[in-house]
Assembly symmetry: C2
Homo-oligomer: 590 residues x 2
């Protein structure tokens, strides 16, 4: 195996060789900015996943380094993200009690399983499977997850012990716990939320107004959560608010990521396998969307199958170093990109920054109120909530709308796993349903061209002895009988008919079931003294038909073009059999 | 609601009004022949289902009458059939011990659930769902079921107590029990099997040779099992073979079908729901295939949704009269048809014949050896076994072959439910996989026509400034990204390119995900100063595109035909930009 070939699987060998001082400088600046942003975010997402805060830091260190070695995106920042953290909480909440040792170990197992699944998908080039998550389903899922996540954090803002696994349970539990609200927690949480919203919406314009450059304004804006963390931590410490019931982060071990061992017992693995598959696929889709968007901006390409390997390695890294499932995050990657990261080395420098934080800064977050972390989560995820997909899909395609609406409602009502699975199954089901009842058009010749179009939409030339049918779908088992029924319903009672031409320009495949239907159609038309012809059969379909007896038994012929078919069949008929001009161009059906 | 409208839902009101003496005579003859055939068959299939023999008779009486009222086929004979009996045994074998009261009640519940599912499918017009069982999957499933059924009956021929839920278990259990073989049972069973095979293969030619007419020869042949039953029953009675260990049918109650009540407890219903769905769908597919074949022979039509209602009523009837799941059987229907049945009244007369048998003839089968019934089953089902589908599908389509092979192997290895479910899931999965990686062809103008074909297969005219791509598939979420990647891989580095035309003749739908991909393609081509055009967009697709912004943002135009597109775009270019003639007609890829 030569080095370039190895470089295909370990991209660091490619970009590493041309790494220079400029790249180093750019990467370093990006790393510092991302590190500052990631410290509170990592702690917050660990809280969302139900894990101790340090798990979020650990999940950002070794995984980032492994992704830098194996991943192909130059700007993707890997670590804990909101949706995957929520899915982690949902998955391991079923097998262990939050806060127990078993819970943390289950998180490691989940990361290991996700990593193994991602690696396997990469090695077997199964990245295309992610395409079965349609854009609308993803959009609906992300929106619903954002709502679920924000709702789940309200309890930290109120300082109450509410719970729930879906929106309804969460809201009723919150309402029931409302009387126990801790006023000081609410004050801190409320102010932090308002502050962070203002930072996101109003700070940047304000900074620009007072003459600060756009780049610096951006950096200051991203540091907003750090400011909130510092101020509220100081306030809690100074005014002894923890004694008044304000929940704080408390002791966080001062340590590099520990070496940990996931539990691979059969029972736990089988409980976590399906969630791990869902987390892998969702994580991959989120990550690759970000990576492709950023790569396109710099005219770079990323390799989806290699991305799977990079993310797989990152998750396996998380499993053995005290983390939990990770993926490429949207916000952090965009910050990394905007801050000028040039190579994956920026990620490695970020990892070093976070490692320093894990050793040196953890005592400083002892008094950090959980309400502040909850506020950073709420403000971050509400930017994901976007109902415009409902309007777009309603206008464009009712099938897509149904898939989106179902995904949103089922995610809110039954949780992330049910929601996303239903969305995928439903969108596939709707696609299959549509292909099982294809659009079929009768076509005629557009005058003074050789082009054939629907007789209901265009002014075309037809002949009473010839019926030309264009089936707008590949023929396969699910619609084979539909075509049979359509043709017989149309043909029965039309005594002038001598030829049926199937115009096959839209038929991309004929499977064995459909071939049997075509044989039946040919046979039954023959009994009615009607010949069956084919036109515009595509190369790959024709190759296949030549493997079967069908063409030998066909009562009519196969024409290269529909125009040839019409010309030859009409030539054979008496000329007095005049051509009808069908003027239905105003009709809009069909 | 007027009478003709009611007649749509209760077909008996239509054909009943024109019922005359000729029809009565024909129906009566058919009924007598079918009754003679059904008596041993009903007893045998009950044995296969693990139920007492009378259950088979009961399942043939009321269901036939209900189907005669609600069904649309003139010749379909409804009752117990081999595959559904096997599926019944598999389903209720999981919830109760064969021979117990609970087992028989579970069979009633299964019939009631199947009936309700079939009725619901009929009312909601879901008959199309059966189309998702592809022909090859059905063929593979029937073949594998035939093997399983025949193997399951060998124990009765040997007179041993072997068991097993799949082929492997059955064979090993039979081998283990071989030493306990009862010689007399084996003699009876072996002779009966040989006799029945001879009747099926050799008797009819022999009868024709000695001058007997074809119709009578047929009837005599169908009575073969009755002869085997009579001879072996007499032998067992005369020579007291039951004392020597030959297992006999024993006491069968002399009674009309009893009124029975299925058990609708939640636990049982939830255990039997999935098997009931599978039995409903498989039974419906078997029944409708027979009904359509027979209807086509007399140029009649059957209504699939009304058939669901007919079969649903029949199963509900079976549930409340001591039966078990029923459907339209192939063998009995063909016999009914060949014997001249003209209306569903033939079925009603058959029911009367079987009712008389249930009251009067049941004492006569006391000494009937189970080995004889097993022989009738084996000979009947081995005619279902047909491996030619493996060869046909291998030659025609590897995807179909994989689906067939998997269905056969999984049915044999894991039973009927796993087998048929896997077959359906796999064939849908393979279809989705194919559509997710569509065939894409670059096309050019076939000289002296207006027709465009693949540049790799035909000698066509192209121009270096224009790339025309024909995508041979509808664009939807699963292949949207594939198209994006294809276009960019093709376009990058081709500096002479100014126009990309998507020829949409094979695009039958563009969903929202694909629309977003098209927008991305349009945008990125624009950045490379390449215009994107569409040609031959079909009416329904165009209607949809007009609901979105895409057409406003499109950098190029939408042409009615690909020929118009080429002419107009070339007209705009300098004439010196000569047309290339691409001669690749010998190439066979693409």
């Amino acid at each position: 195996m030569t080095l370039p070939r190895l470089g295909k699987y370990i991209p660091v060998l490619d970009w590493g060789r041309s790494y220079d001082r400029t790249a180093f400088g750019n990467d370093m600046v990006a790393a510092i900015i991302v590190t500052i942003m990631l410290i509170p975010q990592s702690l917050a997402y660990a809280l969302l996943a139900g894990l101790p805060p340090e798990a979020g830091l650990y999940a950002s260190i070794v995984p980032i380094i492994l992704y830098a070695i194996f991943g192909t995106s130059r700007a993707l920042a890997v670590g804990p993200v909101a949706v995957v953290s929520l899915m982690t909480a949902a998955a391991i909440g079923n097998v262990a009690e939050a806060g127990t040792m078993g819970y943390a170990v289950a998180a490691l197992t989940l990361a290991a399983l996700s990593g193994a699944i991602l690696l396997a998908m990469g090695v077997f080039k199964l990245g295309f499977l992610a395409n079965f998550l349609s854009h609308p389903v993803i959009a609906g899922f992300i929106t619903a997850s954002g709502i679920l996540i924000a709702t789940s954090q309200i309890r930290h803002i109120l300082g109450v012990d509410a719970g729930g696994h879906n929106l309804w349970e969460m809201v009723t539990s919150l309402v029931a716990h409302l009387p126990q609200t801790n006023p000081m927690t609410l004050l801190i949480g409320g102010l932090a939320t308002l502050f962070l919203f203002w930072v996101r919406k109003g700070l940047k314009p304000a900074l620009r107004k007072i003459g600060i450059g756009p780049r610096l304004a951006d950096v200051v804006t991203k540091a907003g959560p750090v400011a909130a963390v510092m101020v509220t931590t100081f306030a809690v410490w100074q005014f002894h608010l923890a004694d008044g019931g304000v929940k704080i982060v408390g002791d966080v071990p001062q340590s590099l990521p520990p070496l940990t061992m996931p539990d691979f017992s059969v029972g736990l693995v089988s409980d976590l396998l399906v969630p791990a598959i869902l987390i892998s696929v969702i994580g991959f889709v989120e990550s690759i969307s970000v990576a492709q968007t950023l790569a396109a901006k710099r005219r770079q390409r990323i390799n989806p199958d290699q991305e799977l390997i990079g993310l797989g390695a990152a998750n396996i890294g998380a499993a053995f170093t005290g983390g939990y499932p990770v993926t490429g995050g949207f916000a952090r990657s965009v910050v990394n990109f905007d801050a000028g990261a040039q190579t994956p080395a920026a990620g490695a420098f970020t990892a070093i920054g976070l490692a320093i934080a894990a050793i040196a800064l953890t005592p400083l977050v002892y008094f950090l109120p959980k309400a502040t972390l909850a506020a950073t989560i709420i403000v971050a995820v509400l930017s994901l909530v976007d109902f415009s997909i409902l309007k777009t899909s309603w206008q464009y395609s009712k099938a897509d709308f149904v898939a989106v609406l179902a995904t949103i409602l089922l995610t809110l009502g039954f949780g992330v796993e049910v929601g996303v699975t239903s969305g995928v199954v439903l969108s596939i089901g709707l696609f299959l349903y549509k292909t099982s009842r294809p659009h079929i058009a009768e076509v005629g010749l557009v005058p003074s061209t050789q082009h054939f179009r629907n007789i209901k939409r265009h002014k075309v030339i037809t002949d009473p002895s010839i019926l030309t049918i264009r089936i707008d779908e590949s023929l396969y088992f699910a619609n084979a009988r539909f075509l049979e029924d359509y043709i017989f319903d149309r043909v029965v009672g039309d005594d002038r008919l001598r030829h049926v031409i199937l115009m096959c320009s839209a038929i991309n495949e004929i499977d064995l079931s459909a071939l049997e239907s075509l044989e039946a159609i040919n046979h039954r038309l023959d009994e009615m003294c009607i010949a069956l012809h084919l036109s515009e059969v595509k190369g790959p379909v024709m190759d296949r038909l030549k493997c079967a007896h069908f063409l030998d038994d066909l009562t009519g012929r196969v024409f290269l073009s529909q125009y040839d078919a019409m010309r030859e069949l009409l030539g054979k008929l008496s000329v007095s059999d005049a051509i009808d001009t069908n003027d239905n161009s105003s009709a809009k059906t069909g």
